[in-house]
């Protein structure tokens, strides 16, 4: 059943119009040229993994997709990034609205120092997604259910989110992102601070989320990329070296650098 769905999806992505298209993207941090001419199409309702050694620019590129690099004063982004055909670096685009559409989960769980409920309700509240309290309750419950946290959290919604365990905190952050009803979910090494059991739970969750969102995940772990993603992009020294079906990247990579990385010779 699972495998069938996977095949179906992979076939779909080839026919669908891409959700995100990036052309000739360059990123500079001051004098450092961090991203060099990256071209990539990211499909809807797919998990795309960015892999590569530390400092290869995969997180930097991820942060271009919701303009989080704008918050770093020395960062400069060039090139063309479109979501649903719309240039997100156009002057008319409000980065704040863009980030509501493109949610993000960070490397270290960063729940706000508020109650679990308020953490999840944060996005819906600032974007006015609910008409009344019961509406908001429903959004919060749905988001927590989607993040597989409802059963653990339903009796302690008013307790601080920082009191949860690391894995629960990261799922809370995912719920928080999901509650804002994004179309794309960016995840920057979401499991790097978690133990294996919590990692497995989050990976399962990512696979669930694929049905509704386009998920882009940056990961250090090649096993994780192989487990959760349908497409994989390999970054090295700021270049996008190879991009394709996950199965193909891991079994018969075309570029020798990809092969060395996957077999553990570099990185």
């Amino acid at each position: 059943m699972y495998d069938m769905r996977l095949t179906e999806r992979v076939l779909d992505t080839e026919t669908d119009k891409p959700k995100i298209t990036a052309k000739g993207v360059q990123v500079y941090y001051g004098d450092t040229h961090a991203i060099k001419d990256v071209n990539v199409d990211i499909a809807d309702k797919t998990v795309t993994a960015f892999i590569g050694p530390s400092g290869c620019g995969k997180s930097t590129f991820l942060r271009c997709l919701n303009r989080m690099n704008d918050t770093i004063s020395i960062a400069r982004v060039e090139g063309d990034i479109r979501i649903d055909g719309e240039d997100i670096y156009d002057k008319r685009v409000d980065p704040v609205q863009l980030r509501a559409k493109v949610g993000m989960v960070f490397q270290k769980p960063n729940p706000f120092p508020k109650s679990i409920y308020d953490n999840v309700a944060y996005g819906p509240r600032i974007h006015g997604l609910s008409r009344n309290k019961s509406d908001l309750d429903e959004i919060v419950e749905n988001a927590l259910r989607r993040a597989a946290l409802w059963d653990e959290a339903k009796d302690r919604l008013s307790q601080p989110g920082t009191g949860l365990s690391g894995g629960q905190q990261q799922r809370l952050c995912i719920a928080r992102a999901v509650a804002t009803a994004p179309e794309i979910l960016l995840m920057d090494e979401p499991c790097s601070a978690l133990d294996p059991i919590a990692t497995a739970q989050v990976e399962e969750l990512i696979d669930e989320l694929r049905q509704s969102y386009s998920v882009v995940i940056v990961t250090h772990s090649m096993q994780q990329a192989a487990r959760v993603s349908q497409k994989t992009a390999f970054f090295h020294l700021g270049h996008l070296v190879e991009y394709g079906e996950t199965g193909k990247i891991f079994t018969s990579p075309e570029d020798p650098r990809t092969e060395s990385y996957i077999s553990g010779r570099i990185g």
């Binding site: 919701n66 918050t71 980030r99 960070f106 960063n110 120092p113 600032i126 601080p160 920082t162 804002t180």
Partner: protein, 487 residues
């Protein structure tokens, strides 16, 4: 032997103990310092600590206890008639001490010798002492002179005993440490434990001092309430002390002073908190690095201005300006000293307290919080209002509280800005005064520590202390209840 000489000798003993303990430790391992348990310096420090700590401790205790015991024994020997009617034993004792000091300096400067002193009459000694510059509360009597002589003798012999005991203890301690200073001795652990004890002592001194201050306030306040009704003090709306008649005629109601304190502090906080907080938010969240590096020190300069300068500013500039621009045209009075003047100037003084502390605290909120909020599509101001300020709240409340305590305790700006007239009034352009100003005015000049007019200062001080303590507890409670803890 003077105290400075004792300290000098102790320093020499400490240094010698340091050097000997260190070299002995090295000698026991044949000069191979790697075979020592600790670095050589620890053996030396152990020697110095062992020589100095007990000796200095003994010295301190001796200096504290000796005068008390000596006073007590001399006082017990004093004949019953030595204390005149209406005087106190303490006054006689202070005369005794002064005469003893006079004898001391007389002998050391060579104006008379011990033997001469024995032969001289009471009047002659009085004359000699007066010519030496000793001022007495009343004419020298035979009893006082006898007591002073025995006081002086006991003191000089005790001083020698103390010197010998202290130096002897230092030598014993140093020798013991040197004898223990061998390669396998764990000097590092001992020294570190010694440092720990020093730190505990430092912490205890801070606590004990606070306790002492509170106790002295309490005793004097109790004295005050024995002479003056507490209902009058807390509920009377009139403050008019009189120094002419003792008690009775004075009205010492705290309410007008408390009102002035709270009124001026409130205005000061209304000025300082929003300005300080907004400045802090701008500096930490919006301002560029360059602007921040210039602006922050500039704001902090405000904190370095002495309050008397602020007072002058209030007196010469702000007061007349407020009077001419607002009070007179609005018909609210024509006094240059006003609550508004003092409040405004005090508010300006408090801005850096609020802004500098809040700025540090806001900066301490982790970047991950900002990223998380921005990543959900929040604007910068939403992030600040809903994530950063709540996370920084305990610190911000602390900053405001510090500012409030400063405002309540401030004196100079009030004297020069708001005047010294105790008044219960709502008009902010009227002169009023605060508790601290009245404490100063009740304790300056010719004071008699037995009259309620003077003792009221302690009651005022204690009330102020209780109020600031209450504020602290309240703030702690608020912070506990609303804190949003981040990791």
């Amino acid at each position: 032997m003077p105290l400075s000489w004792i300290l000098l000798i102790l320093a020499v003993i400490g240094t010698i103990a340091f050097l000997m303990a260190r070299s002995r430790a090295i000698a026991t391992v044949d000069g191979d310092a790697r075979r020592l348990h600790s670095l050589p310096i620890y053996y030396g420090l152990n020697g110095a600590l062992m020589a100095l700590t007990p000796a200095l401790g003994l010295l301190a205790i001796w200096l504290l206890v000796q005068p008390i015991l000596l006073d007590r024994s001399i006082l017990a020997d004093l004949p019953a008639g030595a204390v005149p009617d209406g005087g106190t034993a303490a006054l006689v004792m202070s005369d005794v001490r002064r005469v003893a000091d006079g004898i001391d300096s007389g002998i050391s400067s060579g104006s008379f010798t011990r033997d001469e002193l024995r032969d001289l009459s009471v009047e002659d000694v009085g004359g000699l002492l007066a010519s030496e510059g000793t001022a007495l509360g009343s004419a020298l009597t035979g009893e006082v002179l006898t007591a002073a002589t025995s006081y002086w003798q006991a003191r000089s012999s005790l001083s020698w005993i103390m010197t010998i005991a202290v130096i002897g203890l230092a030598l014993i301690g140093g020798a013991w440490a040197v004898s223990r200073s061998r390669g396998e001795f764990r000097a590092r652990n001992v020294v570190e434990r010694g440092v720990l004890i020093l730190m505990i002592a430092a912490a205890s001194i801070a606590i004990l001092t606070t306790l002492g201050i509170v106790l002295s306030l309490l005793f004097e306040t109790a004295n005050f309430f024995r002479q003056y009704s507490w209902t009058e003090f807390f509920f009377s709306t009139t403050w008019s002390p009189s120094f002419s008649g003792r008690g009775g005629a004075s009205q010492l109601g705290i309410l007008p002073l408390l009102w002035g304190t709270l009124y001026i502090s409130t205005i000061a906080l209304i000025v300082a908190v929003p300005i300080g907080l907004f400045a802090a938010i701008y500096l930490s969240e919006y301002a560029g690095k360059k602007f921040r590096s210039v602006a922050k020190p500039l704001i902090e300069i405000l904190a370095g201005i002495p309050t008397i300068v602020y007072g002058l500013f209030a007196l010469i500039t702000v007061g007349p300006f407020l009077r001419d621009a607002f009070a007179s045209p609005l018909g609210l009075g024509n006094s240059a000293s006003s609550v508004m003047t003092a409040g405004l100037v005090m508010g300006i003084m408090l801005i850096p307290f609020v802004s500098s502390l809040s700025d540090d605290i806001i900066n301490a909120v982790p970047q991950a919080m900002r990223d998380g909020s921005l990543g959900l599509g929040a604007t910068k101001s939403e992030t600040i209002r809903q994530v950063i300020v709540p996370a920084a709240l305990p610190g911000i409340v602390g900053a405001v509280l510090l500012a409030a305590s400063r405002a309540i305790g401030e004196t100079m700006i009030v004297v020069l800005g708001a005047g010294a007239a105790a008044r219960l009034d709502l008009n902010p352009f009227e002169a009023m005064t605060t508790v601290t100003v009245k404490i100063v005015s009740q304790l300056t000049g010719d004071t008699d520590f037995a009259s309620p007019e003077t003792l009221v200062a302690f009651a005022l001080g204690l009330t102020l202390f209780v109020i600031t303590l209450g504020l602290n507890v309240l703030a702690l409670f608020i912070v506990r209840k609303y804190r949003e803890q981040y990791e």
